[in-house]
Symmetry: C2
């Protein structure tokens, strides 16, 4: 396949970028009174306003042609047909089937029955736990679920359980432990009662280092409580789970056609379903399904995930943006940036195409963020007066009409507007004079008050943060990532890069556990660089002291 | 002053960068067996290994000359002398005085007596609360402190209270509310008893929108409990605090020669001091003081904060790094990235020098991160195989010798080593063949397993996470930021950019609170762009539905 950057469509976009260069967003708004109407899109209750991005409808049309040139339609067809689009692992990437109400086939086999069976099993389990018919081994009712998992087995349900705190069962708390650092487990269980705690071990292979360490810590902490009454597992390794003490009837399976970071819709969502109930969980699926249907059936120019993907690619590859900030103006969405960080950076943090060429342009950005309005008092300064192009996604559930909530939403809108509009030197000067500064002082200080503006942002507005709108929101980003991966030509569904560090840790760990020893054995220098050797020596010296 | 990028020292560095281009970190280690010894530095219990940065001792020497050319020594002298180095606000930036045991003068006046008086008052208050001699208005003992503050009045004590959880009083919890979103307050107090809860309102002016909203929510939640027994304030506005119901004897003052993001050492640290006790808080100050003394007295080439600043500037301005990831391998340090985000991005997210020129090069990076090992299962993929240069600071308290702790530390070291070393195509091919793949399969897949390596990182190693090492660590970053600000010529101590968004919010809010109205009045279009107007109209339509 022609490398992306050598396609004629790319060249046309590069020339178009040069034409737009130097045009301020304020000029684009002045030139087109219909700009908001033309550049905002809606799907269900999700309104996406792209009008504060540095582009025009012509830019979007050219980007759509780039997508067509990369056969996005064929990619979507193969994805929905359950073909092995995860080519390096020879697997499908069919997370849309997890929220489906219609058949999807993987290798010719309809997976809807097994999806429904898992949902039914989740309903049984969550209803048993929430109603109190599930009892701990001493006969006590469960009051806390603790999920033990990491990465894709942690971030999704953790993020969503916090986001949907308003829907949580007041008598059943959901907590999450991911880190191998024993402090996280200790801090999480400190105030819990073993007889009333139910752990969920989430590990497809039941071998994940961190998760197994925490599962062992949990078993020890439970004391004499029967693991069969205090452990569930989401795993395909029934033998290992059984050896650990978790009977097969306590295990839920995971399909191999779903990657970890796309799996919160599956049995991985069990802790979330415990917290909000299976009806609300099904609403989450329905919200995602609505986005799926929109995604698979809407022309690109009105297709939310496609347009979002194209806007992102434009910012990254044509305008040189190196990060994407996600700022949810809802405190309970505080983990959304961490969740999307995995989704985007693990999926498209790639440099080689499926036909083994260098991509040739920048791929996934650094995705980061924090809940608004908190970030305004921390890092927004850089957005206003730093030296970087900083695209932002503002995620704004409008919520009720209380004064505090209105202030929160007003802040969200104000940040987007102020970052776009900027403040000229003349405005800064006038403001300083109005505040009582002398003309000379105002002249000296104005450059420190002025802001260039022209910072691009997308606003994602929704009436309320509900299971349904959250489902749509997450599915939106999932599809955005897949579209960008298709255009860059990378495999968005593997994560082979991370193997290297794991292997290195397996080599270093035995030496550390052996305590004082041959850390500086010259034979090991080819294996461990002088830095690692030096750090290990420092550790050994501290241990001895 | 000559713009930084036009100095001869800058030009020499640019030429030197071109000489180093294409040399892999592996080559630098191969060329110099003493590289670790030459490029690692220690201050107290903090060991900083810079040897995995893409530079040589010659690079550092050239960077030191750049610092000399910018009169870093003069800047440090003026800072320590309490001169108004925050020139736009005509204030000193003398946070080092907050941890001092010797006189520092601001405008000729020794501030040590007032610093000591504040510490003494903090000791009285914390001892009263911790011992139970402070009682709620019903006579109950306080079991939870809730800090109400945002930005610099929140992030420091919040980060440190979590980091030093092992030192916390088991009978006194510390919680933090920052967001104006009412959900944060509601989620924080849900399980608390008003009679046993003591709020600290942290706002220098007692006018901060978010903090005052939360203070009002707290007063309402307390019901008939006497505010004088359930509120403290860290504020200079005694009249406003009194009007709110907080008597003067419950107020601690803040000096105007300390900026919010440098203030955790002051009375702003009160919630932290309540949690860990004043002795431990003084240890934190002692750790910072140790770093201060090192910083002010050590030649640049061996000066931890100076070298860290120079390395960062090298990465940003000569190698083109656009972000800095901070990955603490200690779960309790999970808020460190958020804390440093404010410190770096608010301090140096600037584009204009003190003599009113454009800086002309990139300033503060996007600072972000998450606790290791959790991030390995989320975003590390991009470090290994993405398209970006991604400098990382690994912060690693070695801790005790338990197997889980050793695994955590081994993971930290392994990530730094693996990201530097990379994996060649030949190694990837051999690994795939060893795993049973055919030669053809291995050939096809190897590019997806290979990693270029050469990713730079700094490892900050310390024996344990203690109040003292945490104090040193935070002071290290504070000074790093100040040095970078000096080199770039910006004022690291103001944050005037954020005013613009606040003003815009003040204009939008009354319209939102007025409900349905004239959002689309054409007269307002000059004030509000069509995007803001369109979003407000969507909100109005949802409200009506």
């Amino acid at each position: 396949m022609t490398p992306l950057i050598h396609t004629p469509q790319w060249q046309i976009l590069a020339a178009h970028r040069d034409v737009l260069a130097g045009i301020h967003l304020n000029d684009l708004f002045a030139a087109d009174p219909q700009r908001f109407a033309r550049l905002s899109l809606q799907c269900g209750d999700l309104l996406c306003d792209f009008s504060k991005q540095r582009l025009t409808t012509e830019t979007l049309a050219l980007l759509v042609r780039l997508a067509e040139a990369r056969d996005l339609a064929g990619f979507l067809r193969r994805m929905a047909a359950g073909e092995a689009i995860n080519a390096t692992e020879n697997r499908a990437a069919l997370h849309i089937a997890l929220r489906a109400e219609r058949p999807y086939r993987v290798a010719g086999r309809d997976v809807l029955p097994e999806v429904r069976a898992t949902r039914a099993r989740m309903r049984e389990l969550t209803e048993a736990i929430r109603s109190g018919s599930w009892r701990g081994s001493s006969g006590a009712r469960i009051d806390t679920i603790v999920n033990l998992g990491i990465g894709g087995s942690d971030l999704g349900p953790r993020m969503a359980a916090q986001a949907l705190g308003a829907y949580a069962d007041a008598n059943l708390a959901a907590r999450f432990v991911a880190n191998i650092d024993p402090a996280e487990f200790a801090d999480t269980v400190r105030d819990l009662d073993p007889e009333r705690t139910l752990f969920i071990v989430s590990s497809k292979t039941f071998t994940t280092q961190e998760t197994l360490a925490n599962a062992r810590a949990a078993r020890a902490w439970l004391g004499k409580a029967d693991p069969a009454r205090h452990f569930l597992a989401v795993s395909n390794n029934l033998a290992a789970a059984r050896d650990f003490g978790i009977p097969a009837e306590n295990c839920l399976a995971m399909a191999d056609w779903v990657g970890g970071r796309f799996s919160m819709w599956s049995a991985i969502g069990l802790p979330l379903a415990c917290s909000i109930g299976m009806d609300a969980f099904e609403e989450l699926l329905a919200g995602a399904r609505q986005m799926d249907e929109h995604f698979l059936s809407t022309p690109y120019a009105e297709n939310l995930p496609v347009v979002m993907a194209l806007v992102g690619l434009w910012n990254i590859d044509f305008l040189g943006a190196d990060s994407l900030a996600v700022i949810p103006y809802a405190h309970r969405l505080g983990l959304l940036p961490a969740y999307l960080q995995q989704l985007e950076m693990e999926s498209n943090g790639k440099r080689v195409t499926l036909d083994n060429q260098e991509v040739g342009c920048a791929t996934a950005p650094i995705l980061w963020g924090m809940a608004g309005s908190v970030g305004q008092h921390a890092f927004h300064q850089l957005f206003y007066q730093g030296t970087r192009l900083t695209p932002i996604d503002f995620v704004v559930p409008v919520g009720d009409a209380s004064p505090e909530q209105e202030a929160l939403v007003a802040n969200a809108l104000a940040q987007g507007a102020a970052l776009m509009k900027g403040k000229s030197l003349a405005e800064a000067r006038a403001q300083l004079v109005a505040a009582g500064k002398s003309a000379a002082e105002a002249e000296r200080l104005a450059p420190h008050l002025a802001c260039p503006g022209n910072q691009p942002s997308t606003t994602l507005l929704m009436p309320q943060l509900t299971p349904r709108t959250l489902g749509s929101l997450i599915a939106l980003y999932e599809h955005k990532v897949a579209v960008q991966g298709c255009l860059w030509g990378v495999n968005s569904f593997d994560q082979w890069g991370v193997e290297h560090g794991k292997q290195m840790a397996r080599e270093i760990l035995p030496k550390m556990l052996a305590g004082a020893g041959d850390f500086d054995d010259p034979k090991e220098i080819p294996l461990w660089d002088a830095s690692t050797t030096g750090l290990l020596a420092a550790i050994r010296a501290w241990r001895k002291a």
